[in-house]
Amino acid sequence: MGSSGGGKRIARELGECTNDPPEGIRVQLVDDADVYRWDITMDGPEQSPYAGGHFKLQLRLPTEYPFKPPTINFATKIYHPNVSNDDKGSMCLGMLRSDQWKPPNKIVAVLNMVRNILIEPNIDDAVETGVAEQYKNARDEFVKTAREWTAKYASGK
């Protein structure tokens, strides 16, 4: 099968995500002619210090999708143990790892996982160990900084 088969599946998943989006998540293509790059807007979950923020994420699908996992980046700065604090904002954990990715996984599942991670960070899998340390030992300070960053970087529409 050529790339067309994978493209068809992606188009179908895009249709599902736009017609029936998961809670607090909006999806659109960066470029209508390219189904491999998605723009995601994720609202900070109410029960997290990111509440009130609107975070932009970029989802890229490899040409081998669904045999290889998608990659996901926070374009909006976020104070979080599992998101790298650089201009990439990359995250790589759980099903996003190529050794844990399963082809039957769907993009919706990836988006939901990201949202869950905002509510409950995965400390054992942290990329920002300092932040993880703070999350474990000084939760109040972590929450404070995360709120400040949300207000500063993610409050715009």
């Binding site: 099968m1 050529g2 790339s3 067309s4 088969g5 994978g6 493209g7 068809k8 599946r9 179908r12 998943e13 081998e64 669904p66 045999f67 290889k68 399963k102 082809p103 039957p104």
Partner: protein, 446 residues
């Protein structure tokens, strides 16, 4: 009108397009007709890009490509995938033991099994649009028949050019005696195209040539005309309800008025919903029918198995029973047959049970008789023993009287006790006192 520029067939406008086309979805591109020109009628279809007309069950969808299964295979863990999807998932796994993409159960060397045949039938049954629907083929066929449609019937399939020196292809509907792959330029609009596309260009695409609408006599460019034809108020059209019986036809402008009052046209949505329902139910019925066929097949399998198993049983009890098992020949339905088989087995069982109890009764009768006989024998023997004992007593006492004064040492130690035990019933005629004395003196001695 069109002048031939070159007569050589080697003029694909863009050599790269051939490569792109092999993978691209033959859709949206407006020059679709020429872009797909390199396809051969016998190119294997990519069934994953099809548009499905019938709605399909979610359980028939491959978890990897999200299409109804294409040549499905099953792993030991009972997960099913398209053959291609699975082998592609396996090639992305580096380890030697291949793992199921869904549950990661490792399967021995990635070995697969076939899926039940009815699943194949169900997916073959799904109706799809011909992949050439975007260039004009209106056919909708069962997916299982699609290859045949594309290879043999579809007028839009690309078939090899009839010219021997030309390696290009042409839609079957345009197939003629000679090669149509030379470039021509439209006189009116100076656009360059292949000769095979000239008709299409003149009919619809040319931006310069004009023609008049036969219905309203206005003139349009060719590209606008086809659009206009769909809207021209003067064109005579048929009532919406025509396919459920309305014979009325009038100009498009007047049609709205008719349709407002036409009962058939206003019935149309309801009729449509009903016929959709009927189609759905027909499809569901087909499905049930197939399932039923399968079930009936397995029932008759079981039935023959059962018949084989019942045969030795019948042999064993043949002596005691009438030949019931053989008369169970032609029954009109499998269930009926099974039931009657069950019935005859039950009767046989009853017979066996009654003969067993008969045998049981006979056996216990025999035992009682034997017992009585033995008891009599025993009594007889007892009587004999009693009389023998009396004779012995008598003999002993008689012998003691004939030897009144024996030497005390001559009396054996064993004789004493046997004599002493005896006297409870002394034989008549034997005088007792000497015995007593003797035994008394013997005792004092001891």
């Amino acid at each position: 009108m069109d002048r031939v520029v070159s007569n050589q067939g080697s003029l694909h406008p863009n050599p790269g397009a051939e490569h792109v086309d092999a993978e691209a979805v033959p859709s949206i591109s407006p020059e679709g007709a020429s872009a797909t020109a390199t396809r051969r009628a016998n190119v294997p279809l990519d069934l994953r890009i099809l548009d499905y007309v019938t709605p399909f069950d979610r359980n028939l969808v491959c978890p990897i490509c999200h299409c109804p299964f294409i040549q499905p295979v099953r792993l030991d863990c009972d997960h099913t995938f398209c053959r291609d999807c699975l082998s592609r998932a396996f090639t992305t796994q580096t380890a030697d033991t291949k793992k199921c993409p869904s549950c990661r159960a490792s399967s021995s060397f990635g070995q697969t099994q076939t899926v039940p045949r009815f699943i194949i039938h169900m997916i073959d049954e799904l109706v799809v649009k011909c992949p050439k629907h975007d260039v004009g083929c209106a056919s909708q066929v069962r997916r299982g028949d699609l290859q045949v449609h594309v290879d043999l019937y579809c007028s839009y399939s690309e078939v090899p050019c009839p010219a021997v020196d030309c390696s290009l292809t042409i839609p079957r509907k345009d197939l003629g005696e000679r090669c149509l792959h030379s470039k021509v330029i439209c006189d009116s609009c100076d656009v360059e195209m292949l000769e095979k596309d000239v008709n299409e260009h003149n009919r619809k695409l040319c931006t310069k040539q004009t023609s008049t609408c036969p219905d309203c006599q206005e003139s349009f460019t060719k590209s606008a005309l086809s659009d206009h034809e769909r809207r021209c108020p003067q064109t005579t059209i048929r009532c919406l309800g025509s396919n459920i019986g309305c014979r009325h036809s009038t100009k498009r402008v007047d049609m709205a008025q008719h349709q407002n009052s036409c009962a058939l046209a206003s019935l149309l949505p309801a009729m449509k919903a009903m016929s959709d329902r009927m189609d759905q139910q027909g499809a569901a019925l087909d499905l049930l029918q197939r399932k039923n066929d399968i079930l009936e097949g397995s029932v008759s399998n079981m039935q023959s198995l059962l018949a084989n198993a019942a045969l030795p049983l019948a042999d064993a009890s043949a002596a005691a029973t009438s030949p019931h098992s053989t008369e169970a020949a032609p029954f009109d339905s499998a269930t009926h047959h099974l039931l009657s088989l069950h019935e005859s087995l039950r009767e046989e069982l009853d017979r066996v049970a009654s003969s067993i109890s008969e045998v049981d009764a006979r056996a216990s009768m025999m035992i009682i008789n034997e017992n009585l006989r033995l008891k009599e024998d025993l009594a007889h023997t007892n009587a004999v023993i009693g009389s023998m004992r009396m004779q012995l007593q008598w003999l002993t006492s008689a012998r003691l009287q004939t030897q009144p004064k024996p030497a005390p040492g001559a009396v054996t130690s064993g004789a004493g006790p046997s004599v002493r035990s005896g006297p409870s019933s002394p034989p008549p005629g034997a005088s007792q006192p000497p015995i007593r004395r003797l035994s008394d003196s013997e005792r004092t001695k001891l």
